[in-house]
């Protein structure tokens, strides 16, 4: 299957403030560019709301969020964003099917208790799901383990093994296999280097799995 077209990057909608876009973390820019104006968006693990605030102000999106940390939730709600305190494992079940045009899970999948179930839920409640995660198959990660014999610590995986929230790490290949398993269709994918710069590689090829520091996937329910 070659459903993995590279998305045209930088197709920010006309009138979009480039300064506001530039302030976003690079992987969030990639995600933001994938979201159409005025969509209903749920950002799970929305942190301090940077992506939601950008989408709401620049794209007129109906932006909602879920965030585990109280600090993050407060930061969001105090700037007028609609965010609930909760987590991906236990606070998504109540949403009805197809409640959102887009559900975003950025850099959070690896910290969930049941990634498979979470991914299935995303595909149920969103017409599209955008998922980004650090690639454990990235050559620097492999080299870290191979050469030093220690659990990898990289800018994207910045925690020591004993205090990391990342309990379910996977490679791009693992992720693609899981998508196939649960009947998720990969509509688009982008691979990012370790500086967050996008480049285009087939996510099913071994190069992507080796060279990408992270992957961003757009999924839909398979037909």
């Amino acid at each position: 299957m070659s459903g993995a077209d590279a998305i045209p990057l930088g197709y920010a909608a006309p009138g979009t403030s480039t300064a506001a876009r530039d302030r976003l973390r690079r992987d969030l820019r990639v995600i933001a560019d994938m979201i159409e104006p005025s969509a209903r968006v749920l950002d799970i693990g929305c942190g301090d709301g940077a992506l939601l605030a950008y989408l709401a102000s620049e794209k007129g999106v109906d932006a909602r969020g879920v965030e585990l940390s109280q600090y993050g939730v407060n930061a969001c709600v105090t700037q007028g964003l609609s965010v609930i305190q909760g987590d991906a494992d236990s606070d998504l079940d109540a949403y009805p099917a197809g409640a959102f045009d887009v559900v975003v899970l950025s850099q959070t999948l690896q910290a969930t208790r049941q990634p498979r179930r979470v991914l299935e839920t995303l595909l149920r409640i969103g017409k599209r799901a955008i998922v980004s995660f650090p690639n454990f198959g990235f050559w620097r990660v492999r080299a870290h383990l191979l050469l030093r014999g220690r659990m990898p610590v990289t800018p994207l995986l910045a925690h020591a093994w004993y205090d990391t929230p990342n309990i379910h790490l996977c490679t791009i290949r693992d992720f693609v296999a899981l998508c196939d398993d649960i009947g998720g269709r990969i509509e688009k994918s982008v691979t990012l280097d370790r500086h967050g710069r996008p480049f285009t590689l087939d996510p099913r090829g071994s190069l992507a799995n080796l060279l990408a520091a992270q992957g961003v996937f757009v999924l839909t329910r398979g037909g």
Partner: protein
């Protein structure tokens, strides 16, 4: 036995109290089936209603609260119960919003309740007052809002029983509520909470001065029973951590225990004070009726067994707030409510504020609560097109 406290509530005719009165002539169909009326609603307002009547916020008070949100209580002289929240430049900014708070139906601060005279008998209603519900309170408030010519409230906000009213407002009048803020509330009263209320009611009814509810006829007051009810309830409004922080095992004005049943401990003295000051300002039968209304509150039961069904298609923006140390209305209840709102894809924010102050945290200085509400209301005001005050 007569009560030790002379209840000041009788010494001053409440017609002198500040604020507004609305005489509702059109009877209200209550949940218990009674057509009730005419009756009076006492309410207070702050700030100014703007030209297009879009800046009104209804504040719903809790069990023992009243309409004196931000001015001195007419009986006790104490500052208003939400002075931390209401005023120029504060979260509920009187320079920006028009604030309304009405004493609930069944209350004792000017709105018709069991201590008022039943026109049919010329005697206080006492226990012949109909049993009321939270929904009845809201229906009565709607009359005030209609009277003020406000078709759509910018926000309905309240803590505890006030939060129950907020939920009932959105469920009953979905088109009339732009934003809703239920704080430290739940979609139903839990078994534990009903149990605590029953203790309070039994304390009142066990007081010989209660006289089967007819105490006003004979010039008596069940002050001790009401004080005990308040003492028991007050414990539930705090938390173990807050009690420990405030009092520990400290003794009251003494160096050693007195081997008796005096208030040796500061916490005892504090509770006794809470009880004795409460009876000055509150009517025992009102306490029975209002606690009952809370006990009967069960939004799911009103909507075919589902809380979500109460909010189907809602366009209201919600901000649900709970407190970590609140064991009366714990976070789990707020979370359940949030899930119900998610089920109808409602626009909802949910914040659990970290505090050791327990249920009463909504009345206290909680910067995180203020920041959350400020942000939420500002966001809503922008969507509503309300001008900034300054």
């Amino acid at each position: 036995m007569s009560s030790a406290v002379t209840p000041r509530i009788f010494n001053r005719p409440d017609a002198d109290w500040p604020g507004h009165r609305l005489l509702v002539r059109d009877p209200l169909r209550l949940d218990c089936g009674v057509d009730f009326g005419p009756f009076t609603i006492a309410y207070q307002t702050y700030g100014r209603l703007n030209a297009d009547r879009s800046n009104a916020i209804l504040i719903c008070h809790a069990l023992t609260g009243d309409q004196y949100v931000a001015d001195p209580h007419p009986i006790t002289g104490h500052p208003g119960w939400w002075m931390t929240m209401v005023g120029p430049g504060l979260v509920l900014d009187t320079d920006r919003y028009f604030l309304i708070c009405a004493n609930v139906l069944g209350g004792c601060m000017g709105t018709t309740g069991p201590k008022e005279l039943d026109p049919a008998t010329g005697k206080p209603w006492a226990l012949s007052f109909p049993v009321i519900t939270v929904r009845d309170m809201v229906r009565a408030q709607k009359r005030v809002v209609d009277h003020l010519g406000i078709a759509s409230l910018f926000c309905v906000i309240g803590g505890s029983m006030g939060g129950m009213q907020v939920l009932e407002w959105v469920a009953s009048y979905p088109e009339s509520v732009f934003a809703a803020v239920p704080i430290a509330a739940a979609s139903r009263h839990s078994a534990q909470n009903i149990a605590f209320h029953e203790v309070g009611r039994q304390a009142i009814m066990a007081d010989p001065d209660w006289c089967e509810g007819q105490y006003l006829d004979v010039g008596r007051r069940p002050a001790r029973g009401l004080a005990v009810a308040r003492m028991a309830a007050h414990i539930t409004y705090l938390s173990e951590a807050a009690l420990h922080r405030k009092f520990g095992r400290n003794l009251q004005d003494r160096n050693a225990v007195t081997w008796g049943f005096d208030a040796d401990f500061q916490v005892e003295s504090y509770l006794r004070h809470q009880g004795s000051t409460f009876v000055d300002r509150f009517d025992a039968n009102s306490y029975l009726y209002i606690t009952r209304a809370m006990d009967y509150f069960d939004l799911a039961a009103e909507y075919g067994g589902s809380v979500a069904a109460a909010f189907t298609g809602t366009g209201t923006r919600f901000c649900v707030i709970s407190f970590t140390s609140d064991w009366l209305f714990p976070t789990s209840e707020s979370r359940e409510l949030v899930h119900a709102l998610n089920a109808v894809a409602a626009n909802v924010s949910f914040v659990e504020v970290a505090t050791d102050k327990g249920h009463d945290a909504f009345l206290l200085h909680e910067p995180e609560l203020f920041a959350t509400l400020h942000g939420f209301l500002n966001g809503c005001a922008e969507h509503r097109g309300l001008a900034r005050s300054r």
